[in-house]
């Protein structure tokens, strides 16, 4: 062995010439390493692949002209972006490559942004400066930013776009869930514009809860909120029997009565067994409240709580007082104050109280609480942060109860603890934490939510958007969220509108719900006489809708107060009511309008004028439209419906003045029977 080595040494370095030659060869070889590495580099391999793919295409010449060899780079100094992704993803901007499925050569799908102005990593994450696939796409030791899985891609839009957008439903849903599922009650989310994300849910105050329900119900609810109502947003805190016993004891003992929240009725419920269901239907309670039917489906709206087992929860006297006037117990409630008479209150509360579930409280037997149990209950209420969401007399809302989430989307994975079998990525961690919050360590307090997989993905998307980039974005590049108006109507009518909770469904001047039509220009739109009748007895304008205007049983004085206010204040500057009369159009003009209605514009596809012939079921029925709308409104509506009511699905037909005038004449001639020319001036 030694002999051999020595002879090899002799051969290579025996004399100075040989040594010089060998060292030169080694030197040359080492000089060749760098160009060789370059020559055999991954990106060059992919560029060769691209050239061979496009070689035989019909558009080969164009594609070859667009192709630039070598490392490509998009440099955006103000965003801190150096992206070399286009070195391998060569065909990204080639519109004609739609049929190429192979990566990295696919064209980028259409997005509203120019790739040269935004780069790649702003949306997709990953390491832009890397020139190998592994380093660019995965998280490596040196870098911690793997490619973002496609299902969370909308989170990247949210880095700059602070408000909802039509193209980002998942992000919008996630942000919505963050504020309406109670997340931001405990977790502070400071937004890059300096504001704090606000909760939009309205957890009930527990300061007066003994007026409303029993300790047994609170116990059952605490143990499993979804056993009472599957749609309940209250999460499950997985309390032990003793903990639930003590918290329920404390809440009942801590409760302060509200004067006037139980009433004695001077009338009895209707003897008709169907009267309750009819009144529930007529009052359109289902527009806001859901009930689970026998098939297990949830039917109804989600503005108010689910009522499937409401009879097992409420004390009858409290419910009667609530149906009578909800504002006594909860002044800012979204529930309208229906002017029910005592008989109606008795009928409706009787109907609701019959919705019971005997299994719910069957096994709940609670003895009177001891002082130790009460003080234990109080401590638990503080420990679990109940007051973060609920107002509780004598307990302060805790500050910074849970970790702040303002930059959660940039949390380094070295700071995370993963569950066994979990992929070590930030999105997987966030999704896993939402799915099983308590699995990550013992003694954690975050409760168990009942989110669907799609909701978890949406929440993860919204949280990933809260990252370093969104927080350090140069302000001119951010797109602010539309500011929510806090419009409040004035005076006596304004008070009445608050009492009736008009804004729970209607939007006026940018404030309010979106279930019912925007009323910002209602005064220009309708005739006074019709509005008076509508308040007294709301007719069905859109037969296809299941959510409709309820009857509030208003007094004549209240109706005229509201009507006067709406007719005076909610006037559009573009609709000149006096410019067009409500009657007196020539027969020729009406006939022309009719022809346009049925011929050129085929309005009968969506609307009904003649109940015998027309079947359109999308827009409002127009049989009596001449007694409802003003001619000036119809005229302007024909010219541009979206200008009057943004977002309406009525297509803008860009009608000529002549067509719009004729259609207005035809429609205004459709008056309700026996009331012809009633609104003549």
């Amino acid at each position: 062995m030694k002999e051999r080595l020595r002879s090899l040494w002799q051969k290579l370095f025996g004399d100075s010439m040989r040594a010089f030659g060998v060292v030169s060869l080694v030197f040359l070889a080492s000089m060749a390493i760098a160009p060789a590495k370059n020559f055999f580099s991954e990106w060059r391999h992919y560029q060769h692949g691209y050239l061979s793919i496009i070689r035989n295409r019909s558009d080969a010449n164009t594609l070859r002209r667009h192709f630039q060899g070598g490392i490509q780079q998009i440099w955006l100094p103000e965003l801190g972006v150096v992206d070399r992704c286009t070195s391998c993803h060569v065909g990204l901007k080639e519109a004609t490559l739609t049929d190429v499925a192979q990566q990295p050569y696919r064209k980028h799908p259409m997005i509203p942004h120019n790739l040269d102005q935004f780069g790649c990593t702003v949306c997709h994450r990953g390491q832009g400066a890397a020139t190998t696939v592994a380093e660019a796409h995965s998280s490596t030791l040196a870098w911690e930013q793997p490619i973002l899985p496609t299902k969370y891609i909308e989170s990247s839009c949210g880095q700059c776009h602070r408000g909802p957008m039509p193209g980002t439903p998942q992000l919008n849903l996630g942000r919505n869930l963050l504020s309406r599922s109670g997340c931001v009650h405990c977790h502070a989310v400071k937004l890059p514009d300096g504001s704090t994300m606000k909760a939009t849910d309205d957890p009930p105050s527990l300061s007066h809860i003994a007026d409303k329900t029993t300790r047994e119900w609170i116990y059952a609810w605490l143990k499993d909120p979804q056993a009472y109502a599957v749609t309940a947003t209250m999460p499950n805190f997985k309390l032990s029997d003793d903990d639930a016993r003590d918290i329920s004891a404390f809440l009942i003992a801590n409760s302060v009565p509200v004067p006037g929240d139980n009433v004695t009725l001077s009338a009895k419920a209707s003897g008709d067994p169907t009267a309750g269901a009819s009144l529930y239907g007529e009052s359109f309670c289902a527009s806001c409240h859901a009930v689970q039917n026998a098939a297990g489906n949830i039917v109804g709206g989600d503005i108010g709580p689910e009522l499937t087992r409401i009879g097992s929860k409420l004390k009858p006297e409290w419910l009667q007082a609530w149906v009578h006037d909800p504002r006594v117990y909860d002044p800012p409630t979204a529930m309208p104050h229906y002017r029910f008479n005592d008989a109606q209150v008795a009928t409706l509360s009787g109907f609701l109280l019959a919705k019971t579930d005997t299994d719910l409280l069957a096994n709940v037997h609670l003895d009177a609480a001891t002082p130790e149990q009460l003080s234990h209950g109080k401590r638990l209420v503080s420990d679990y942060g109940c007051a973060s969401c609920h107002e509780i007399a004598g307990i302060k809302k805790p500050e910074n109860f849970a970790p702040e989430l303002s930059r959660i989307g940039s949390k380094p994975i070295t700071q995370l603890i993963f569950l066994a079998g979990m992929q070590h990525t930030l999105p997987d961690y966030i999704a896993g934490k939402i799915k099983q919050p308590r699995a990550f360590a013992s003694g954690l307090k975050m409760p168990q939510y009942t989110f669907t997989p799609a909701q978890i993905d949406a929440l993860t998307t919204a949280l990933l958007a809260l990252n370093d980039r969104s927080n350090s974005l140069p302000p001119p590049l951010a797109v602010a969220a539309p500011s929510e108006s806090d419009y409040q109507p004035a005076g006596k009518a304004g008070k009445l509108m608050i009492d009736l909770a008009c804004f729970s469904c209607h939007r006026i001047n940018g404030h309010g719900g979106d279930m019912a039509p925007d009323l910002t220009w209602e005064g220009s739109s309708v005739q006074r006489e019709w509005l008076v009748q509508f308040f007294k007895n709301p007719e069905t304008l859109r037969p296809a809708l299941i959510r409709r205007m309820p009857k509030f049983n208003l007094s004549d004085g209240e109706v005229s107060e509201l009507t006067d206010y709406i007719m005076t204040v909610y006037q559009s500057p573009v609709v000149d009511r006096d410019a067009m009369p409500l009657s007196g159009y020539s027969q020729g003009q009406i006939e022309l309008g009719k022809q346009l209605f049925y011929g050129k514009y085929a309005c009968q596809g969506c609307h009904i004028v003649d109940t015998q012939a027309d079947k359109g079921y999308i827009g409002p029925t127009l049989t009596h439209v001449g007694s409802r709308l003003t001619a000036a409104w119809i005229y302007q509506w024909m010219k541009n419906p979206q200008a009057l009511r943004p977002g309406t699905i009525e297509p803008n037909r860009a009608m000529s003045d002549e067509d719009a005038r004729a259609l207005a004449a035809f429609l205004i001639s459709q008056k309700s029977g026996g009331k012809q020319e009633v609104a003549k001036k």
């Binding site: 496609t150 296809a544 011929g599 803008n652 037909r653």
Partner: protein, 243 residues
């Protein structure tokens, strides 16, 4: 030295074998029965945004020669990388069915997924199902479709949306109706959406949307219509299938 090397080799072989065994034990399901064919029960031709779960699970059934369901047959699902199955393999239940949730890949287009089982002679029997992943443009189109088009173009009613299809004298084409829609060029379809039916001698019940929707809206709608048509349109893009 030799002894050390050999013991090291033995040890590493043992470790490898043990880890392989454990792996195969957890991943392998033993079929207790074998069918003759595999068919789709439900869940084909669904749409979902790229990288997200299909709204409904995919259900396949393994049948014997007589067409009766076979319980205990092993079904495996496969597709191009990026498609996730939960579970990726399972034994058929008492009615011969296997249900799996599917998350499509990150690129918009059609994905071919393969459900396979082994028959009595240990040959692999396959059934191929196509699903559709919608990209940004198509999702924009889908939203506009739900807002404006679906009410007339979709004959099915939902609780929230009563279909107007039956009320129309001239029936609109559902967007899945590839036989008809694929024969209309992009330019013509865009013209119909923009200027209404009469622009191409069709019914005036189709209104003009050119003043309500902008160009990129209409482009999104076109993209959605092409993506969901059945049979597929040429401009629907590639089909991602296993090689």
């Amino acid at each position: 030295m030799n002894r050390f090397t050999s013991s090291a080799v033995v040890l590493s072989v043992a470790v490898l074998a043990a880890s392989c065994l454990r792996k195969s034990e957890s991943a392998m399901l033993k079929p207790t029965a074998f069918g003759a064919v595999i068919v789709e029960s439900s869940g084909g031709k669904q749409f979902a945004a790229t990288g997200t779960w299909l709204p409904q699970p995919v259900v396949v059934q393994v049948n014997d020669e007589q067409g009766a369901g076979v319980a205990g047959a092993l079904v495996e699902f496969s597709a191009v990388p990026g498609v996730i199955f939960d579970p990726v393999n399972a034994l058929t239940d008492s009615s011969g069915q296997v249900t799996t949730n599917v998350s499509l890949g990150g690129m918009a287009g059609r994905y071919q997924i393969t459900a396979s089982t082994i028959d009595k002679s240990h040959k692999t029997v396959e059934h191929k199902i196509e699903e559709i992943a919608l990209g940004y443009e198509q999702r924009l189109g889908r939203r506009l479709n739900e807002q404006y088009c679906d009410r007339c173009h979709n004959p099915e009613s939902t609780v929230e949306r009563v279909s107007n299809y039956d009320n129309l004298e001239v029936k609109p084409h559902p967007f899945t109706e590839g036989d008809t829609l694929n024969r209309i060029s992009d330019a013509d379809l865009t013209a119909i959406i923009t200027h209404g039916g009469p622009a191409l001698g069709k019914s005036a019940l189709m209104p003009a949307w050119g003043n309500t929707l902008n160009k990129s809206d209409i482009q999104g709608l076109m993209s959605y219509i092409r993506a969901v048509s059945d049979p597929p349109s040429r401009s629907a893009g590639p089909v991602y299938r296993k090689n």
